[in-house]
């Protein structure tokens, strides 16, 4: 696009970014607030962080959520990579229409519908075949992995679709069999997409309140469920501290990932340059 002065759209961009970030900045600011009244400034303090880290219930819920998110993300990457490969590489296989539908629907379907339908299915399966017996961590993982797999599929699909196939062709010419080509050439090339997909699934799972609330059972309270119930009872300054920690971790993660990608890109350009020169 044409590049010009700042103009109306530039001003709107600045206002829009302020709109996106002012609440987050205020949240971080008030997490260091001495006062119990969340929005009245009472001086700097770390008391809410101390309260957060001595809250056993919160820590247990956080640990449960992290475990669920890690397992979910791993399953979702395996399923999503298989689905992405099938959609990009296998042409018009039988049942493709239904398959693409099942990939696209979880991306837009309201969470309340996904949660309710999954719960009813778990109950019906429990009645019919006795598995999964009861509900809890396992049912949350299955439910999360299902909708996260759809997101991973989209990420893998777009990476595979944009892939330059000349390296695969070269490997084939040198006598590698198709599966070997995939594992030795293709998979390492799309690895960044797999990592991005894993992180996306991890975040989606860690953040989910609605689906987990439907499919959970006694004893499995995830972090969003605990946060939601404490926020409903009133504003609690500990949640400010928790939110600030999440924002800090995510920002560090994204900055690191961007820096790494830049580095990889620079190294790749240098290698290409050397290869041409040599």
């Amino acid at each position: 696009m044409r590049r010009g002065g700042i103009g109306f759209s530039g001003i709107m961009l600045a206002i829009g970014l302020l709109f996106l970030y002012v609440p987050i900045v205020l949240l971080i600011l008030f997490s260091f607030n001495e006062s119990r009244l969340v929005t009245v400034w009472g001086g700097w303090s770390l008391r809410w962080y101390e309260a957060l880290f001595s809250d056993q219930q919160m820590l247990r819920a956080a640990w449960l959520s992290i475990r669920i998110a890690a397992i979910t993300a791993t399953i979702a990457v395996v399923l999503g990579t298989m689905a992405g490969v099938a959609l990009v590489r296998f042409g018009n296989f039988r049942g493709r229409f239904l398959f693409t539908g099942m990939i696209a629907t979880p991306l837009v379907m309201p969470e309340v519908i996904i949660g309710l339908s999954m719960l009813l299915m778990f109950v019906a399966m429990d009645q019919a075949i006795g598995w999964p017996a009861g509900r809890g961590m396992l049912t949350i993982i299955i439910a999360h992995a299902t909708f996260c797999a759809a997101y991973v599929t989209v990420v893998v699909q777009s990476r595979l679709g944009a892939l330059d196939r000349s390296l695969e062709e070269a490997a084939t010419d040198l006598g590698a069999r198709p599966l070997k080509v995939f594992f030795v050439i293709t998979l390492p090339i799309i690895a960044p997409a797999l990592i991005a997909g894993w992180l996306l699934a991890f975040t989606l799972s860690l953040d989910d309140l609605v689906v987990a609330s439907f499919v959970t059972g006694p004893g499995a309270t995830t972090l969003p469920m605990l946060v939601f119930s404490s926020v409903r009872l009133g504003v609690s300054p500990q949640v400010n501290a928790l939110g600030s920690i999440i924002v800090a971790l995510v920002s560090i993660g994204i900055i690191l990932a961007t820096a790494l990608m830049h580095r990889r890109e620079r190294l790749r350009q240098r290698d290409e340059h050397l290869a041409r020169a040599g």
Partner: protein, 313 residues
């Protein structure tokens, strides 16, 4: 070597051969079966339970198909749950209200998001990555906590009211939390990135030479925008609007935390029907009608779009 291709420089390169049949079967069938069992079949179960009678038991619905006393198959279809949806005005009001709130939130997102996406697409490439990162970053932080942050801002003794009172603009705090206004604000805030990203993707692909041609022919910038840029960005507008509108219709967290008791949205009704009233059959009927309400417009848009493409071709 199933396929081969001739490169521009005349070298014949071979596409990797097709995967062995068994490997292909495995790669397709694992995710296929998973999605079938855990995503498609559950909708059939929702349909089944929406047709059954509620009962005080665990689980709280009566079986639909039973072997009767005389070993005859006894199928009881119960449309009472759907009749309830049609009769009780609560549900109709909730559906209409959800669609209204989602529709206007989508328009607000479009009005704010379009110029933002336009500015990013026009920005210096060195800045573009950073700006995009700033748009995406909130999406990676907790949705629940970003909604929660607004409670502290909008409350009676929240940031805005404190500021307005300390400047002497108002004496009494304005009620902002627990209003429809707060829900619009929350939805716009949460879904704005989903509007900006597809818009940016289409605006970035826009061919510069079209705009230059329009300028060379003496077309004023606003007219170039209306006759060239805007029509060419329709796919982005449609994609972004769907990404905001559909989840917003079924939104639960935002109306539950920011809305008032009279902000009835269908996602919240479904939640209460399930968790508070423990009426699984009615909750299922609510879910099915909502899914149909959302699927039909998408299919209509896809049909219009494919007809448009067919006409162009």
């Amino acid at each position: 070597m199933a396929e081969s291709s001739t490169h521009p420089n005349g070298i014949v390169r071979h596409r990797p051969a097709r995967w062995p049949r068994r490997a292909r079967m495995l790669v397709v069938s694992v995710p296929y079966l998973w999605l079938l069992v855990f995503f498609a079949v559950p909708f059939l179960i929702v349909l089944k339970i929406s047709l059954s009678e509620p009962q005080f038991a665990q689980p709280p619905y009566a079986p639909l198909i039973e072997w009767g006393d005389d070993l005859a198959l006894d199928i009881r279809l119960n449309l009472a749950n759907y009749a309830l949806l049609a009769e009780d005005r609560l549900y109709l009001v909730a559906y209409l209200n959800s669609i209204k709130i989602a529709f206007f939130s989508t328009l607000i997102c479009l009005a704010i998001g379009y110029p933002m996406a336009y500015a990013i697409a026009r920005a210096n490439p060195a800045w573009r990555t950073g700006l995009l990162m700033l748009i995406i970053l909130p999406f990676w932080t907790s949705f629940l906590i970003r909604v929660y942050a607004w409670i502290g801002i909008l409350r009676d003794n929240g940031v805005i009211n404190n500021l307005l009172i300390s400047f002497g603009i108002i004496d009494q705090p304005l009620q902002m939390l627990q209003t429809d206004f707060a829900v619009y604000l929350g939805i716009t805030y949460s879904y704005l990135p989903f509007m900006i990203l597809p818009l940016f993707a289409t605006l970035q692909r826009l061919d510069d030479s079209l705009l230059e041609a329009a300028a060379d022919l003496g077309c004023p910038p606003w007219r170039t925008f209306l006759t060239v840029t805007l029509p060419l960005s329709v796919p982005g507008i449609v994609a972004g609007s769907l990404l905001v509108f559909i989840p917003a219709v079924g939104e639960f967290v935002i109306p539950a935390l920011l809305g008032g008791p009279d902000t009835v949205m269908i996602g919240r009704v479904l939640w209460d029907e399930f968790f508070t009233n423990r009426d699984w059959p009615v909750a299922s009927a609510v879910a099915l009608v909502m899914a149909l309400l959302l699927v039909l417009p998408i299919m209509l848009i896809q049909w219009l779009y494919s007809r448009e493409q067919a006409r162009e071709a």
